[in-house]
Homo-oligomer: 721 residues x 2
């Protein structure tokens, strides 16, 4: 067969539509095919002259093993509901509110050792001799409860239904028996996983790329008693546990973990929590273990002459691509779902792999591909939002997922994807691995996680919209396609290494108390001291939402002196406000023509100090302001959802706070709906229109050289210099 285009595209395929698959390979220029969970690859498909990816489910491909080793299934730490003691004897039904087809309470291990009953009114652990586990009923009975206190039980349960399988099963009304995932921590299972993989590799010679979906531990998902999602944390480690691993941890780290180290008051170490030392230690332990054993799988693939690709999701816990141990796995590539510019960069910036691949939206599923659906619109919007980020740092390949037969019913969609794949390849070839122009200073996102959660700040479930986060996720979304170099910095980085000289602007964005804002780190005088000194000497600081927030000694924003603002939390109402917005147009708003969208914003922010200049207010609350601190500058923004106008506001705020206003017109477009990327090593300049309307823009090569350009809706225009 003939591939007319140069590839870089992966096609999801199904058996029984070989002719159509052939056509699509040509139409989209696909040079690889893949199956999905629930689809198979036929011999005919595998023999087509393209690369073949096959999904490999490391911890559940052998369900016979699972059924025969029920005591080696994966576990999860769970917390019961809060129960009020209305009498001195309190019986707590552990699985009340959980999905009983997902979990089976651990009756094998010593509950006194691994469980905890906690009086949540006082926070005290209840003595083991005061409570008893009733194995038959699945309850814990506290015999001497303090009346009107509330109690919880932290306990371990086997996962008797694999999370992804359960999700797909319930979502797609599958009727196959539930898959169960086994735990690689048990040596017997570990050996089996490797030997099973070895056999599989031997028996599947036509497979070119083993697409691990994924390795060992799933991110945290628990369903409720109505078979609906109860808890989901894409970053969660609650399903990476077992008594055996906890014992091993104690041996290595020298201290015993408590159930509470996992339960965390019921917050389960959400990434919004400033991580505790014990949780960081557990992550370190799990990451070492996971990467070591993932490496063994990858090595096996290589032995059989196959590539090893990891899907960034599902059982990805412990593999964090921006973590300390990822490189040891030795993967050839990572593939992930692209829901936005930030998620694209989350994939394309991954180090230590030969290539990355983005799976674009929409998924070929009936939720979009039904009569009256508009998959073409969704594809274009997804592509255009990701394209800005691709221009900064492209993934090496793109692809789609789901049922191809569904997509084929929408010829419009098929044609549009042909255009998109062609545009993708054009970009890739014009860039040729070179770096587009960025200013000399870097922009750092500062939070409690730093590099580990690069492009993953303020996220709950992967790339999903939440009311409480979109005004912060907008920050990394804006940055993902912006001509600046971005670094993710933790408070510990600043404590250990100070602030590197190439950083020009620090951004701190998040709600008070969260890991993204920083919580207690802001009453660490080493951190506030270093940042104050750095700003005073010329640094730029941008705070979004509740930056530097920790109520302490009369201030909610601990760097209110730097920011020029603080937030009213009810104690300073007696201070009369005299805030007024600036009437002139400030540098930051020069390109802004309409009402600014601050998303959820932040109520009750007011000026402190004498220098604050307010650029935007609403009902007495500051939404946007600037302040000078020594030779440095700070900007406060109440919220920054992703919009083309907000990209521009943030971009200008970055240049202003870095005191580099004069440099902004190097490779700049006047119209907020347009952006440019200048590949000076290649002599290629891309100018893009991110909007669905025609746009007129002025492309600035520098302050003195510029040209007017008209762009069609969503157009990318290439110029040469």
């Amino acid at each position: 067969m003939e591939i007319s285009k140069d590839g870089r595209v992966t096609l999801p395929v199904e058996v029984g539509i070989d002719k159509e698959v052939h056509e699509m390979i040509n139409k989209w220029g696909a040079d690889a095919i893949r199956n999905s969970d629930g689809t198979e690859l036929s011999k005919e498909l595998m023999e087509m002259a393209v690369k073949v990816y096959t999904t490999y489910l490391t911890a559940r491909n052998d369900q016979k093993w699972a059924r025969n080793h029920m005591d080696q299934l994966q576990m999860q730490y769970l917390m019961s509901k809060h129960n009020i003691a209305v009498s001195e004897v309190l019986e707590i039904d552990l699985l009340d509110g959980f999905f009983r087809r997902q979990f089976d309470i651990d009756k094998k291990h010593d509950c006194n050792r691994y469980w905890e009953v906690i009086d949540r009114t006082t926070g005290k652990v209840v003595d083991n001799d005061v409570w008893k586990f009733n194995k038959e009923k699945g309850t814990v009975v506290i015999k001497d409860a303090h009346k009107w206190h509330r109690y919880t039980v932290s306990f371990l349960a086997y996962q008797i239904w694999d999370t992804t399988h359960m999700y797909n099963h319930l979502t797609n009304n599958w009727t196959t028996p539930p898959h169960m995932g086994y735990d690689v921590f048990h040596k017997e299972t570990r050996d089996h996983i490797l030997s099973y993989l070895g056999n599989w590799l031997k028996e599947n010679p036509s497979v070119d790329v083993v697409r691990f979906t994924t390795f060992f531990y799933h991110f945290t998902i628990a369903y409720n008693d109505k078979a609906k999602e109860k808890y989901v944390d894409w970053f969660g480690y609650s399903a990476s546990v077992s008594p055996e691993a906890i014992d091993e941890f104690e041996r290595v780290y020298g201290y015993k973990l408590r159930a509470e180290d996992f339960i965390d008051e019921g917050y389960y170490n959400s990434p919004f929590r400033v991580p505790s030392k014990s949780f960081l230690d557990w992550m370190d332990f799990a990451q070492k273990f996971v990467t070591e054993n993932a490496k063994k799988c990858v090595d096996l693939c290589h032995e059989y002459g196959k590539e090893a690709m990891m899907f960034l999701g599902d059982n990805w816990i412990g593999t964090e691509p921006y973590g300390n141990y990822f490189k040891n796995i030795g993967l050839d590539s990572v593939v992930g779902s692209v829901g936005s510019g930030a998620t694209l960069r989350m994939i394309s910036d991954i180090p230590h792999v030969k290539y990355t691949e983005g799976r674009f939206l929409p998924y070929f599923f009936p939720d979009t591909f039904h009569e009256g659906g508009n998959p073409t619109k969704e594809a274009v919007e997804n592509w255009v939002q990701a394209r800005r980020a691709i221009l900064r740092n492209p993934v090496d390949r793109m692809g789609y997922g789901g049922y191809l037969s569904l997509a084929l019913k929408f010829p419009d969609f098929v044609d549009k994807v042909a255009e998109i794949t062609e545009e993708f390849r054009e970009i890739y070839n014009k860039i040729k691995g070179t770096k587009p122009y960025t200013p000399k200073f870097k922009v750092a996102i500062l939070n409690a996680w730093g590099k580990l959660r690069s492009w993953q700040t303020n996220m709950v479930a992967h790339a999903l919209w939440y009311k409480k986060i979109y005004s912060y996720v907008g920050v990394i979304e804006c940055l993902s396609g912006m001509p600046v170099d971005v670094e993710f910095l933790s408070f510990e980085d600043i404590k250990c290494k100070g602030i590197a000289s190439d950083i020009g602007v620090i951004i701190n964005a998040g709600d008070a108390g969260t890991a993204w804002s920083g919580g207690t780190y802001w009453i660490d005088d080493e951190i506030t001291g270093k940042i104050r000194e750095w700003v005073y000497n010329g640094g730029g600081f941008i705070g979004i939402g509740e930056p530097t927030a920790y109520l302490h000694q009369g201030r909610h924003f601990q760097l209110s002196d730097v920011l020029g603002v603080d937030r009213e939390i009810g104690f300073t109402l007696s201070y009369t406000r005299h805030d007024k917005a600036l009437e002139d147009k400030h540098f930051i708003l020069e390109d802004n023509e309409k009402h600014i969208n601050f998303g959820e914003g932040m109520s009750d922010v007011y000026s402190v100090g004498d220098n604050t200049t307010i650029l935007s207010m609403d009902r007495g609350d500051i939404n946007l302001s600037v302040n000078e601190f020594g030779s440095g500058r700070a900007v406060y923004i109440s919220g920054l959802p992703y919009t083309p106008e907000n990209v521009r506001i943030l971009f200008r705020a970055i240049y202003w706070s870095a005191s580099k206003e004069k440099d902004i017109y190097n490779w700049y477009t006047s119209n907020s709906n347009t952006e440019c990327a200048a590949y000076l090593d290649m002599g290629n300049i891309a100018v893009i229109n991110n909007s669905d309307a025609e746009q007129k823009t002025t492309l600035y090569i520098n302050t003195n050289n510029y040209m007017d350009i008209n762009l069609k809706p969503y157009e990318i225009r290439w110029l040469t210099v």
Copy 2:
């Protein structure tokens, strides 16, 4: 002269318009006249056959004394700005940002004893030997500052301009020399105050009522360096201090107060702060002292056959009418400004006086009485809002303030006030001191202040609108005219005495951490235990805004089990929400026809537990919900500004949470714009229309007996039974 009506009205008068004063006395049925700060009473006016009130400024009537005793002027505790140490020597200009015509730094007393320099980065007090006060420059120099830390100085200053005089002076462009207030704490001054009053009483035989405006210490006001208000706390004690009083406090209470006990991180013990023990002790000390000496003034008045009336405001600190010592003063009456129903009740509920008087709005000042102004509208709205509260418990007299000559230019206004005063007298005479119908159970407002701050919850400056409080002030405003008996309860009351058997519903309303919500009281298991038990056994609990809030052990609302809701503060986003609002009409919303106004509301409130019934949601956040807990019931409301509809929602929420739905139709009106008050002892029923439109309503005597009534705009209709 002839007084055609039966009085109960006080007229503000001026010299030079005797004829008009005569006319107005007849027209409004005034039986008393008064002067204001800035107006005088002529001999002719005083000889009119009506009662004469004269304003008496206890602590500043003798400015000669003030000038000759500058070291006995009143003082104020102040905190400097926050200053960042950019080098090891930090010089802090104490009065920077303050109005230098208001304050003079205390150079007389030992600054090492009464001042504090605090490192606000760490919260630690700086040793005395590290800083020095430069008397000439008015600065403090810290010689060994920790670089990049922020520092404040807490210091004492003399008030060289009396607060009220300064306010009137700057507001009305007066050009007289500033008044200074002297401090009654100094024996010499105290003796002088009394002898001066004695002389004055002797020399003013025509005065019937000495209107003390007020006694000794002004509530806290500090102006800024632009001569504008910087800080105002109608409840503030910062201007009740002196080194001599602090020393005396130490002698009596056995411990030395710190400057920080007054400065309170710069919050100056705002009533929004859960009060510290030391502040409560100081209030107790000041109240004892103030009431003892106020009594001496009152006794003197009585000796001279005059009545003693206190103005509730200005120098009222220490006299709290709902405090433990107020009754000792022996006042005949209290007069206060009526800005709303709640402020009316704040006056009319005052115990231990012979009568109360309300000063209604508008003030006869040019801000309202100018060409194009509409004082009539303001008078009617003020009257109608207060009338609901008058029907519950009337003040005994009403009056107006300001320049009568201004009012006379608006004949419309003069006529309308004649109607209002007549309506007031009619109400008063129909009630004759009897109590209108209320249900058998009481409603308690629970906060850290309890009885002391009756009808004063969530207030900053007296009756002024603030964005951050109106959604809470609405609660007491709704209650002020509602047919229920209201009690103000503190957490200490519950700890000491439990919950009285006549209380049917407890309301907790306020922002997290404030004294109104309760802050740390909510992790006191004695309090949560007693309330849980009480609700479980049938009590009703209504939470508004952030009730029972203190982030602890996985819950922000500590009684989330009772309320059925909690607030997301960023840590539980991983819990999937399945909240849906009830489609049927709940009892609480039966009278509601339009969109509910929750004011500022409260973002991110979600259900916890399985029983929560959601009555109103907006963008995924709960605004109104109900829950059952044992035999008891709870209601959550996100905010409750004062509107006729919200009066009804709260009223129904009270009956529902008390499980008394069936009793609600005793003396009930169907239309939310109308209310009724049933004086069963008199056989008189008042039905009022609070709106500016005609209203049709059904008056329920009980469930089975009712009648339709049509009411004209703002009408009050009297029926007899």
